[in-house]
């Protein structure tokens, strides 16, 4: 027997609850899945697979977010030049991976990118713009090659590529958005701490890659 809000036994409350539960159960059971006879699911699958791929490995995520953090720390024009450089060069590396062109020490390069980019953010390193671009581009090749060799066959290439690039760009965007706290005095310290976290993460992956 149910109880009212005053703690008094209340048969009506129990019956209402039972009715509600039955209605929810019935609604769940009646929820009809879409009949997907002869559906061409490759396109959607390709886009979602591409979108998920860059975020599927923490080593990649750390480095891509770190690019955004460093760009925000360095300010204009590095703020946008670095996140523009990385996807393009990464795609170039991805193309090499897709074609089966060998690149030695890919996993080490990926892990090292986390370490060095993290250290750059932690120490507020301010190299000339060209040097920063070259560093980010070099790491982009490793990340792209790693992704390129892992890309699944049978997906819609164009949709996969769109999802892949969009996810990569969004990761940079996350890094930039976080990095904007650099404008505040306390934000600079937090950002340097974030760089340290990225570097430690990179060290972990470097240890795994070498071991």
């Amino acid at each position: 027997m149910g109880r009212s809000s005053l703690g008094v036994a209340c048969p009506g409350a129990r019956s209402r609850l039972a009715l509600l539960l039955r209605a929810i159960l019935l609604a769940i059971l009646s929820w009809a899945a879409t009949a997907e006879a002869h559906v061409e699911g490759g396109e959607a699958g390709g886009f979602l697979a591409g979108l998920a791929h860059p975020v599927s490995g923490l080593d990649h995520v750390l480095a891509m977010v770190a690019v955004g953090l460093w760009g925000a720390q360095l300010g204009v024009p590095a703020l946008w030049v670095l996140p523009v450089t990385f996807p393009m060069v990464m795609a170039l590396g991805g193309m090499a991976g897709l074609l089966g062109l060998p690149l030695p020490g890919v996993e080490i390069g990926v892990a090292a990118s986390g370490v060095l980019l993290g250290l750059a953010v932690m120490s507020e390193l301010r190299p000339p713009l060209g040097a920063a671009i070259a560093l980010v581009a070099a790491f982009g090749v490793f990340h792209g090659h790693a992704h390129g060799t892992e890309l699944p066959s049978g997906e819609s290439a164009l949709f996969y590529s769109i999802g892949f690039v969009a996810a990569t760009g969004c990761l940079h965007g996350v890094g930039i958005a976080i990095g904007l706290i650099h404008a505040r005095p306390w934000g600079r310290k937090v950002l340097r701490a974030a760089g340290a976290v990225v570097a430690i993460g990179g060290l972990f992956f470097l240890w795994r890659a070498v071991a």
Binding site: W31, A32, V84, M88, G94, L98, F164, G169
Partner: protein, 201 residues
């Protein structure tokens, strides 16, 4: 009273979720008419949408004169190319689309200071080629030549909207956003090129 409300709400919820949609396997009639079929074909085909978007971004970055010429030349060339494509049977592989994305994306990302005639040339080449490919896909029993008109309308509308939007951008950061979009288009093209070359090898 409350029980009645709950009961009524539950009944409505059940009615909504249990309402069976029509089973549409093996459709016979899905068309909206050839013009709208063509328009929708363009709207759901990223291999057409993205290069047109890139050209519109480029024309918009370069200014109103570029935008006006792109608006005129691209749909017209699309129709001409499509007319030839209607008589053909093969539209080609993914390598050329990839190269078009790379070229247009790099030009947008670099904010390349092209003369008007270069923008017109790019619009002409893109329109003739993509129109040709569309034509091969729309040959009878497809929407045919009328469908190409729908595609051209879609191309016109997209260029008009995007190019005019980009022309109106004044703040420096907004132009940077456009250039970032160009870098993304380049990256998509590079990956697509890798896929295309891998499938050929």
């Amino acid at each position: 009273m409350a029980a009645m409300v709950i009961f009524a709400l539950a009944t409505v919820a059940i009615a909504l979720v249990a309402w069976p949609p029509g089973a549409e396997a093996h459709l016979v009639t899905t068309g909206l008419g050839p013009v709208y079929d063509g328009l929708l074909h363009f709207a759901v085909a990223p291999e057409d949408l993205i290069p047109v978007l890139a050209l519109a971004l480029l024309a918009g970055l370069r200014g109103p004169a570029h935008g006006r010429w792109a608006l005129l030349v691209l749909p017209a060339a699309w129709l001409v190319g499509g007319w030839f494509g209607l008589a053909a049977h093969s539209g080609g592989g993914p390598v050329l689309p990839a190269i078009s994305l790379i070229v247009l994306g790099v030009l947008v990302a670099a904010d390349a200071p092209l003369p008007v005639v270069a923008t017109m040339g790019l619009a002409l080449a893109l329109g003739l080629w993509r129109g040709y490919v569309n034509g091969t896909a729309m040959a009878v029993p497809g929407p045919g030549g009328v469908g190409l008109v729908g595609v051209a309308v879609g191309v016109f509308a997209l260029v008009a909207i995007i190019a005019s939007l980009v022309v109106s951008l004044k703040a420096a950061w907004t132009r940077i956003v456009v250039r970032v979009a160009g870098s993304w288009i380049t990256a998509i093209g590079l990956l697509l090129l890798g896929w295309g070359l891998r499938s050929k090898s």
